[in-house]
Amino acid sequence: MHLRSAMWLTVAVLLAFAATLPLAAAAEAPGKLIRLTFYYPVGVAGPLAKVIGEMADRFNKEHPGIEVVPVYSGDYDPTLQKVQTAVMAGNPPDVFIVEISELPTLLAMNAVIPLDDYVRKAEGGKYWEDFFPAFRENSTLRGKIWWIPFQRSTPVLYWNKDLFKKAGLDREKPPQSWAELKDMAKKLTVREGGDTKQWGVTISGGWNDWLFEAFVRQNGSWLISPDGTRVNFASKEAVEALDFWVDLMHRDKVGPPHSTWGSTPPDFVAQQTAMLYHSTGILTFLRNSAKFDFGVAFMPKSKSFGAEVGGGNLAIARKIPKERQDAAWKFIEWMTSGENAAHWSVASGYVATRQSSYNVPAMKEFLAKDARYLVARDQLKYASGKMMAPNFQKIREILKKQLDDAVDGKVPPQEALASVQTQVEIVIKR
């Protein structure tokens, strides 16, 4: 009796379950909703995750058939790891942002699709040319466009006007050249006994490999060829640039030899340092936190002004169905429209990637109030693409280790960079 009723119950449950299946399928069929997973990093201080969430919401409202689900995935390194893990597991996020130097790695993993067909048709064919040329550079490899510039920056020099005045310097005149930088940094360094109370200049750690590339650019050379096949770490120009760092941080001790990317903006706000090399992406954070007047300047020149771009691009995964890729493209096109690029720039402090963004009324109004947001854009004239190569994470570690050793005075600059050259050649050829 018991057994029989249990059997009937089971059958009933199974039937009930089976009955819901076709219903569920039917409910999904008309106007099928495509749900896209979107991994994104936040590379700088500030509540940027909120801005991304707000933009995704707006996109979802305007596009009833698509729902983008933004997933905050840490800063750049963890985001890359999550994307790589997901790609290897065969379940990639549909659309994602990773740091621009990782393109060759993504191609080696066969993780992304070329976007040329989409790009050609977008905005009547005028879409791609509207991006700043320097930002376009890290998108192209092997003759194809692989991803679209989104949260993009260059390093700039921030200076504390109050501390300049206190040191007897003109508060409106930041250093123009390396020589001036060194000179001013000496005057701005405050020591009490053996302790440094205030540094002259902080060249921020964490992404010091990125900042170092800028110094090499200013000195008229490069580190890795745009196609990622040739390396040039031990050039005379690079050695001079590193020697200049050793001057600042080891011989004259006007800048801290080590720091982290996240700790230096608060140090600047706490007036622990008078000048700071960092991404333009922290401008909004500084503006909201600093209780003193500060300026934004081009990085000082050696042979010329020079910078390289940085930040993250939007890519579409390869191993997802075509309809999802099409939907992902709609999202990317929307996120990078002139107007939304302007909106993102105002909210974050990143440089708007599109030249037309600077004609958007809201952007104009915003820039009229604070012209400091224009400095990074103007510096783009002197900027070029960021170095990229397969397995860039490893190259970055190798370079950072030798930079650390050199500014501690453990290894002469020549020897440090020669070591980077040999090691990176092995990584690239592997």
Binding site: K197, G205, P256, P257, T260, S263, Q272, K394, E397
Partner: protein
């Protein structure tokens, strides 16, 4: 561990039950294995199989640029052997172990003896306060200590300044970064060892101290003749746990230094993480994991051999 004790006890019961109970005993043993099976299955599926698989993977070159595995034999191990960074990482681990383990154990024991005294109502507060750092999640504590060690506005330099010590850059100085992490880890971990020692101290019969008091033994003599030997098994346990955890150090390094400056705080687990998930060199990561497992096994075997001789177990 507790499972194997259970087996021993059951056997003891069975043999004492006399003749006639033998069949029951053997049936019972089968039952024991049956009950142990789920735990064993879990261990095999989630521990031994991954360990073996990782050893197998370590024989391949498998990374971002060679997504298809290529058999290379022991090449990954040879590469490690020739890599100065690998030896630096081992040195850092050793330095961390030497810096953290004795200090944490001594501090844990010392404070356990203190809070075991009759302190009245304040005792609970003291115990809670000392145990508090252990309860904070490591990542949160590490974030906190990044600020405590901040060279300009950090608490640590502020306090050492009162003692007339020079201001240090701590996490940003190649010589002081690892000691800074050791200091933080001692602060974080001593409470756990204190708790274990406290439990063990309360297991020591009071009569022993009374007798020693009658014989006229001072506090120092009582400690060396009663407390210390009777805490032997606990100390062994604490020592083994401390060794294991000293080789597992990762969170602090990840949050506070990322292995820098110049790899001076790069430790084994962080190095594995770097190779496997940052450089995506899975073959190398697997080789390092295998080295790590072997190293730990050898270390613990050595500890048991060396210490097992003079640790006194009650009832032996």
């Amino acid at each position: 561990m507790s499972n194997s004790t259970a087996v021993v006890n059951l056997e003891g019961v069975a043999s004492r039950a006399g003749p006639g109970a033998a069949t029951w005993g053997s049936r019972c043993r089968g039952g024991t294995y049956l009950y142990l099976a789920p735990a064993l299955v879990f261990l095999v599926v989630f521990t031994y199989y991954p360990m073996g698989f990782s050893a197998y993977l370590s024989l391949f070159q498998w990374n971002v640029l060679t997504p298809e595995k290529v058999f290379v034999g022991l090449e990954n191990y040879l590469t490690l052997w020739r890599q100065p960074l690998f030896w630096l990482v081992l040195r850092n681990n050793l330095f961390y172990a030497l810096g953290a383990i004795p200090a944490t154990m001594v501090l844990g024991l010392f404070l356990a003896i203190l809070v075991n005294q009759k302190l009245g109502a304040a005792r609970g507060i003291y115990r809670a306060a000392l145990f508090y750092p252990t309860m904070i999640p490591m990542v949160a504590a590490a974030m906190l200590w990044v600020w405590i060690f901040n060279p300009g506005i950090g608490l640590f330099n502020y306090y050492t300044g009162f003692l007339g010590l020079p201001r240090l850059d701590w996490l940003y100085d190649r010589h002081w970064a690892l000691p800074a992490i050791i200091i933080m880890s001692i602060w974080k971990n001593f409470g756990y060892y204190m708790l274990i020692y406290l439990a063990a101290l309360q297991g020591i019969p009071g009569e022993l101290y009374e007798a020693a008091g009658l014989e006229g033994a001072g506090a120092w003599a009582r400690f060396w003749s009663i407390t210390f030997p009777l805490l032997g098994p606990t100390s062994l346990f604490v020592f083994v746990v401390a060794i294991i955890s000293s080789f597992q150090v990762f969170d602090q390094v990840f949050v506070m230094t990322q292995g820098g400056p110049a790899d001076q705080t790069n430790v084994l687990i962080f190095y594995i993480y770097q190779n496997a998930f940052r450089f995506w060199d899975l073959g190398m990561g697997a080789a390092l994991t295998t080295v790590f497992i072997c190293l730990l096994l050898v270390l613990i075997a050595l500890v048991f051999r060396a210490v097992g001789r003079w640790v006194y177990y009650e009832g032996e």
